[in-house]
Amino acid sequence: MTINSHSRRQELAMLVPAMLFLVAIIFVPFALSIWFSFTDQRLVPRPIPTSFVGITNYERLFADRLFWQAIGNTLLFAVLVVPFQLAISLAAAMALNAAIPFRSFFRSVSILPLLLPMTVVVAIWSMLYRIPTGPLNLVYQWFTGSENYVDFIGGSSTAMISLVVLSAWASFPYQMLIYLAGLQDISPELYEAAKLDGAESWQRFRSVTWPGLRNVNIFLLILTTIQALKLFTQVNVMTKGGPNGATTTIIYYLFQQGYTTQKVGYASAIAVVFFVAVSAIALMQRILLKNEGDS
């Protein structure tokens, strides 16, 4: 009996540190976030004490044109980057899963972008997008034969696309590796059987590869969407939310409101709305994957 209680004390001592950290880093800030969203809390204390303001922040937020613009921009970014990035990842995974020469060299090279911090990627792409004579503008002029240049980062119609391409380049290897794992889980016998049935490579993809990747696809769809909704670093370094707010995302707006202009109460309302949206998406994954398990 003494041994048992001794062992339990040990267990508790091993569990408590992690719990304390989770409470201090996640649960308390989470509760504070909700509390702040109902107050006029400022980042730096003012002479006037902080007061409870009810749902004022939420009312103002939902009437805030800039907030809706940020939501629209974030959704636009997600809608563009998710299919684009996943298509590249899947194509790359399939190419690197085939018996091509120098396969391990190609695999190593294609992982490189994942290793570069986002700020380095932004530096590289700022150079590629440079006006008037960056590499991409020279390519553009070469193809169109015109003397004009495209202001990739500064133009309101191209800024978002520029962010999409840069972001896909920076993070596709992660999804590629997960696709590669998924492809290797598909039994080779299925491909053999399809071949015996006379299926062409496109039909083999339709009837074996694509259904075999169903769970991986759902997982990556959610993962990449959530990743896209968090877009911040690229915006903060490269576009500063501009031009004219065309690349202001939810997290960038939260940062501006809460940090730059110090309106913690208002920004906390943004954080709560953001949290609810991300949770809903994560929940969707659970449901989709569970359905798969049942059927």
């Binding site: 267990e11 880093i25 996640i26 911090p117 004579t133 809460g258 954080a271």
Partner: protein
């Protein structure tokens, strides 16, 4: 060669792989070439032409500038990033694996609810918590320090969950045998479970390494100057002002920043690929 590739159906994959590799290597080559060119005027003239991809001059001038610049001390930033990354990893792995071992193999009745709570927090986006965390850091008085950058990375629900998965698959007989041999619960964790979990440790360490090494939003908010600022924030500071961007210096900074990670990756390549792949399987 071509005929054989065509017959085996690998021509298309090969072409795609080559295009992909060029799309990755050309920008990196340009970064390297420009970092070796000390003449800013010449960089601007050559930008985009073939000369910005194939180095003609091999000068370390930009590297010397970047490494010696007292207003932007690269060595200091590197040390900061290393201190923050290594301490986060070390503390996080010890604390999270201990907790996970209790949840997987312990006898405490609260294990189930605690586990559920941890799994629920996996989906909480860290970005939505930065403001209250910033306020708390201000109350405790640790703004602009190493601690403030290390502490948030330690609580990692995903890491606990991955350790938990591994530990629950350990054979019960092994644990039981050790208990009969007189091992305490902690000793079983320390001398049996941890030595067996080297692959999980490296997988979690690598995933968390990328996360901490690349951290940007939080360090921007909690650092005030070069003393505790990490590399990512220093890199970001080259941009955004309306000044002319010193491309040679920026690229020398970028190369200096990327090389340690790429070397680390080349050494750990197999574990690296395995760890990202295993993170996906859990879906």
């Amino acid at each position: 060669m071509l005929a054989r590739l065509l017959r085996s159906g690998t021509l298309l994959p090969l072409v795609f792989a080559i295009v992909l590799a060029l799309g990755i290597l050309l920008p990196l080559l340009m970064m390297l070439t420009i970092s070796l060119n000390p003449d800013e005027q010449d960089i601007l003239i050559s930008m985009g032409t073939l000369r910005s991809f194939i180095p003609e001059v091999f000068s370390a001038q930009n590297y010397v500038d970047v490494w010696m610049d007292p207003s932007r001390p690269f060595p200091r930033y590197l040390v900061n990033t290393l201190v923050i990354t290594l301490s986060t990893l070390l503390i996080s792995i010890v604390i999270n694996s201990m907790a996970a071992f209790v949840l997987a193999q312990g006898t405490l009745p609260i294990r189930k609810p605690v586990l559920l709570l941890i799994v629920a927090t996996i989906a909480v986006p860290a970005e939505s918590l930065v403001l209250p965390q910033l306020m708390m850091a201000g109350w405790v008085g640790i703004i602009d320090s190493y601690q403030v950058q290390v502490l948030p990375g330690i609580a990692n629900a995903m890491s606990i969950f991955l350790f938990f998965q591994f530990f629950s698959r350990m054979p019960k007989e092994l644990i039981e045998a050790a208990r009969i041999d007189g091992f305490s619960f902690f000793q079983i964790y320390r001398y049996i479970a941890m030595p067996l979990s080297r692959p999980v440790v490296s997988a979690i360490a690598i995933l968390q390494f990328l996360e901490v090494w690349n951290a940007y939003l939080w360090p921007v908010m909690v650092t005030r100057g070069p003393e505790y600022r990490p590399l990512t924030v220093a890199m970001g500071a080259f941009f955004g002002t309306n000044q002319r961007i010193p491309w040679g210096d920026v690229m020398a900074f970028a190369v200096s920043m990327a090389v340690p990670v790429i070397l680390f990756f080349l050494i750990m390549q197999r574990q690296f690929i395995a760890s990202v792949m295993s993170a996906g399987v859990k879906g």
